[in-house]
């Protein structure tokens, strides 16, 4: 089987919906879980879905690849589609029909393809878990001596030393400062994305509580305006640049 090319992706229009859209969710599960020729057809159609979604994802992240050639992309797409299909079939019994089956299937391929691209992007890069080396601001200076911008950074650094464990600091620095993708870090540490995200969540909760207590952030329900521009914490993806060179 070959990967779906970008041109083939682009040719998919509302006027020519994929054949698989005509198959209902229940039909998909029954056909895939059954036997005989109908199952073989369903498996082939499912693989086509996986190829399409994997190709979509790899092309989105293609600039991050060490080898972005079409041939290399096709290899990654095929591998991701195969692995995603295996993962999906292992969870077929959990499909509840809350979305279209095709949408449910796509997410498996997208996850697998994105994870693979990130892995390839970092495969020759060493990940170092380092502690925070930002100088600690003297705590006796008090919040009134901190201005916005760099001084807030000093307050955050000080809070990181006060309320985080060394492990929490290292995870936060790797993910949010050094830009190591969460999948890559999880793989290197022998853990998973969910566990690292939980650590990151705990880090943020502790830091926000500390900075709120010290007057640098407004509480979630506080009526007074925030002291600093960071209080509203605009949307910033922590490893937004981690998927790109």
């Amino acid at each position: 089987m070959t990967a779906v090319s970008r041109d083939e992706q682009r040719s998919t229009t509302p006027e020519s919906p994929p054949r698989t859209e005509a198959v209902g969710p229940t039909d998909w599960v029954a056909r895939l879980g059954g036997g005989g020729p109908e199952q073989a057809v369903a498996l082939r159609e499912l693989h086509e879905l996986m190829l399409r979604a994997a190709a979509h994802q790899v092309w989105r992240m293609r600039p991050a690849l060490p080898d972005p050639s079409p041939a290399a992309v096709e290899v990654i797409v095929n591998q991701a589609a195969d692995e995603a299909m295996t993962a999906l079939l292992g969870k077929l019994h959990t499909f509840e029909g809350r979305s279209r089956f095709t949408t449910w299937a796509f997410k498996f391929a997208i996850l697998q393809a994105a994870t693979e691209v990130r892995r390839l992007q970092w495969q020759h890069r060493e990940v170092e878990l380092r502690d925070l080396d930002v100088p600690i601001a003297p705590t006796h200076e008090g919040p009134e001596l901190y201005a916005e911008g760099k001084d807030l950074a000093a307050a955050v650094a000080a809070a990181m030393h006060r309320v985080l464990t060394p492990y929490q600091r290292r995870i936060a620095i790797a993910l949010l400062v050094d830009g190591v993708p969460i999948d890559v870090l999880a793989d290197r540490l022998g853990t998973n994305r969910g566990a690292l995200y939980k650590t990151l969540h705990d880090v943020r909760v502790r830091l926000r509580a500390e900075l709120t207590a010290n007057g640098y952030l407004a509480g979630r329900r506080a009526s007074s305006p925030a002291r600093t521009s960071a209080a509203s914490t605009p949307r910033v993806s922590p490893t937004h640049t981690a998927g790109t060179p």
Partner: protein, 79 residues
């Protein structure tokens, strides 16, 4: 083999600070995010103004899940 880039020791940039202080409550795990991603993406395609507070909080705090959710929305929207 290259190593992770080391920023200037004093350079905890505003972007880093914002990422460190991102409010990711209400809590939603990556596993739960993946579970919801298909229905979330379909809802967003149907109504771009669709909101899901827990999903939004998670996607603000997890770049990997955010990339994948955006990709799924884009894929569905293109159909």
């Amino acid at each position: 083999m290259s190593t992770t880039p080391h920023p200037d020791p004093t350079d905890l940039t505003p972007r880093h600070v914002s990422a460190l202080l991102q409010d990711t409550t209400p809590w939603l795990s990556c596993e739960e995010c993946f579970e919801r991603m298909d229905t979330y993406a379909e809802a967003v395609v149907r109504d771009p103004a669709h909101t899901d507070e827990a999903m939004a909080a998670h996607l603000r705090g997890c770049a990997a899940c955010d990339e994948e959710a955006q990709s799924l929305v884009q894929l569905l929207a293109a159909q």
